[in-house]
């Protein structure tokens, strides 16, 4: 198994962490990952993460849901088995459409919400029986962990991180995946 060396710097405060991220980025180091117990406002931008596109996927799923609902009701109510229900037009989707609006709306929401959540779970690698990958259990309580790759510059990184207020600095061998 191939391994690589990484440095884990642990912080105990979100403001200290934010200042540290800015400093580390200013020194032109690449931050591999940051584990935090709660969403730290502005951290993704400071780290240089690209904005998430998950909202766009939701919009697309919603459009699919709308199309599915129209196709389904057109097939069932207009083409396959048209019935006279209270004299409503059973021969034209568009003329009977007001009665179909609630279901068109519900299925749009259903698709947009569920498929987006499933996409989120899969992209962030979460499912039942998945093992958690946070390297330190304290990062779900009140600790913040910054992970940097080491390329023979251990001492330099250690000094830099200590300066930024890291309370613990560990160098670990990480299995590549």
């Amino acid at each position: 198994m191939e391994t690589s060396k990484v440095i884990h710097a642990i912080y105990t405060d979100d403001d200290v962490l934010m200042a540290a991220v800015k400093k580390v980025k200013a020194e032109r180091h690449h931050i591999e990952e940051i584990y935090t117990p709660f969403p730290v406002h502005g951290l993704d931008k400071a780290m240089g993460l690209a904005p998430t596109r998950i909202a766009i996927t939701s919009f697309i799923y919603g459009c699919i849901g709308l199309i599915v609902s129209i196709w389904m009701m057109n097939y069932m109510m207009i083409q396959d088995w048209p019935q006279n229900i209270g004299g409503k037009p059973s021969f034209s989707y568009i003329e009977n459409m007001p009665a179909f609006v609630p279901i068109m709306f519900e299925l749009t929401v259903f698709f947009a919400a569920h498929l987006m959540v499933i996409t989120f779970y899969l992209r962030s690698r979460m499912w039942p029986f998945k093992k958690a990958e946070n390297p330190d259990p304290r990062t779900t309580d009140d600790h913040f962990l910054m992970e940097l790759a080491v390329h023979g510059n251990e001492k330099e990184l250690e000094n830099l991180l200590k300066e930024t207020g890291a309370v613990e600095i560990n160098i670990v061998e990480k299995e590549a995946h």
């Binding site: 105990t12 405060d13 403001d15 200290v16 934010m18 200042a19 990952e33 940051i34 584990y35 117990p37 709660f38 969403p39 730290v40 951290l43 993704d44 993460l49 904005p51 998430t52 998950i54 939701s58 919603g62 389904m72 069932m76 109510m77 396959d80 088995w81 229900i85 209270g86 009977n96 609630p102 279901i103 519900e106 299925l107 929401v109 259903f110 947009a112 919400a113 569920h114 987006m116 959540v117 989120f120 779970y121 962030s124 690698r125 979460m126 499912w127 039942p128 029986f129 998945k130 958690a132 990958e133 946070n134 259990p137 304290r138 990062t139 779900t140 309580d141 009140d142 207020g165 309370v167």
Partner: protein, 486 residues
């Protein structure tokens, strides 16, 4: 730090000397501790009520709907009353978690988890009624549009009852994933604290391996926001569609266009009342008074007051329109409601829903915990009677005077209703002992801006940098903050 600024005029939402670690400890305490005697007593009562309800449901299904008090005139009564009542209660959860998220109301964070749990549990109770009313509940899947052996006879998409199937199942399932997604980081917190191997295993499973990477949080926040945006129109659509069950008919008293907004306001009203009922007890029992504060209760009381007044306006508008329409059937339906044989139910509804919330104009009353609890119960009773009045008094005297009659529930009607209350409390009590009942990850995000301790530090003109460290979890906390000041 500017990012944690909040106007001094805002009252703190988290009381006491809380650090991030304190939040974890306080939220995990009810899960890690043992249930006390009063929990077991209440749980036993709820379980007994639930089992009684199960018995009544078994009797209904094995014997038939004739075991209920329905007759050929009043062919809908307690069943649909209970259904609408439970669905209505289910509205507050999504309103608190979604609408208040869109409006960036920080106070939602102390109560959103339990309100969403309440939503899910009460929608489950609601779903029981239409299913048992089918008489043959094992054929409940016939409401779904699936190919079948009857020459592919499809469900009727023109029917509000079918819209209800779609609305409620979408609402239940979307609320469930919204709730669960929010729970993942909190389950992960419990998992990483757990000492007992079995507990660790269970919470690992429930947390879906939540890791808390920066990218996960970025997606998490976006997903929460989009779900809130989707759930807001969804929650409005659900009770709108429930009201269509009545409004699209031609029964006097039902056939009114005011029903959708009137039902939605009533739903929010009853839902907030139930949230107050549950949380006033839970904050005490689980020692969460620092997170669910009197301010939270006060704000919920204000929502109750406003929605109660909207409901009151709707009642009066209905009366006015019945008179103004000149339709004598409509006029009689409303005259009969207020002065007929069911006038007692009408006036219970009026006094509980329109009169009682007006006490909340007084700050002394709306910040009184005992009084809030009392009013929340009164509102729950009033909203049950609202649905009873709409349903039974409209049906019992309709177009054909020779069919006019009264309705009286049988023990099966009553037992089934009590059974759902028992089932609801069984679920909620189990939840309160096993789930993180406050969205602790979210509370941590507002701790530095809205926590009492941090507000005091900030107002003293000191920096918040480094104040997140806790002596119990980090021995360098003290000298670290000293170093930073130099």
């Amino acid at each position: 730090m500017a990012s944690h600024y909040e106007a001094p005029i805002r009252r703190p939402l988290v009381l006491g000397e809380k650090s991030y670690h304190d939040v974890s400890v306080d939220i995990a305490a009810p899960i890690e501790g043992k249930a006390n005697k009063s929990w077991w007593i209440v749980f036993s009562i709820a379980l007994a009520a639930f089992l009684w309800g199960v018995g009544c449901i078994i009797y209904t299904i094995s014997t038939g709907i004739g075991t209920w008090g329905l007759n050929k005139t009043v062919e809908w009564a307690w069943d649909i009353t209970n259904f609408v009542w439970w669905v209505g209660i289910g509205h507050a959860g999504t309103l608190i978690s979604a609408v208040l998220l869109l409006f960036r109301q920080k106070w939602r964070m102390g109560i959103n988890r339990s309100a969403e749990a309440m939503t899910i549990f009460s929608v489950i109770q609601a779903a029981i009624f239409p299913i048992i009313h089918m008489g043959r509940p094992w054929l409940a899947y016939w409401v779904l549009p699936i190919p079948n052996q009857f020459g592919s006879l499809w469900v009727n998409f023109n029917s509000p009852l079918l819209w209800d199937v779609f609305a409620i199942s979408t609402y239940l399932s979307v609320s469930l994933v919204f709730w669960w997604t929010g729970l993942l980081p909190d389950f992960a917190m419990i998992r990483d604290r757990a000492v007992k191997p079995f507990q660790k295993k269970i919470y690992s499973l429930l947390s879906f391996g939540w890791t808390g990477r920066a990218k996960d949080w970025q997606r998490f926040e976006e997903v929460s926001l989009v779900l809130a945006g989707l759930a807001t129109p969804l929650v409005l659509s659900v009770h709108t569609i429930v009201s269509y069950d009545f409004a699209t008919s031609i029964v006097p008293g039902w056939h009114t266009t005011i029903f959708p907004p009137y039902f939605v306001a009533g739903a929010v009203f009853s839902g907030f009342a139930m949230v107050n009922t549950l949380l006033i007890i839970m904050r005490k029992v689980s020692n969460l008074e620092d997170y669910i504060t009197v301010q939270h209760i006060e704000l919920m009381n204000i929502v109750i007051m406003i929605t109660g007044s909207i409901v009151g306006v709707a009642y009066i508008t209905e009366l006015f329109i019945a008179w103004y329409s000149g339709v004598e059937y409509e006029q009689y339906a409303f005259l009969n409601r207020a002065t007929g044989p069911y006038a007692w139910a009408y006036w219970i509804m009026m006094s509980c829903n329109v009169f009682s919330p007006q006490f909340m104009w007084f700050k002394k009353l709306r910040t009184s915990i005992m009084f809030s609890f009392f009013i929340s119960i009164v509102v729950n009773i009033g909203m049950w009677f609202e649905r009873f009045v709409i349903i039974v008094t409209s049906l019992h005297r309709d177009y054909l005077p020779s069919s006019w009659t009264m309705f009286s529930p049988t023990f099966v009607d009553i037992g089934t209703f009590i059974g759902t209350i028992g089932f609801f409390f069984v679920l909620f009590l189990l939840y309160a002992r096993t789930f993180p009942v406050i969205a602790q990850a979210e509370v941590k995000t507002i701790l530095k801006s809205s926590g009492e301790r941090y507000k005091r530090i900030r107002e003293a003109g000191k920096s918040l940098v480094g104040t997140g460290a806790d002596k119990r979890t980090s021995n360098v906390a003290e000298d670290n903050s000293k170093n930073l000041k130099n």
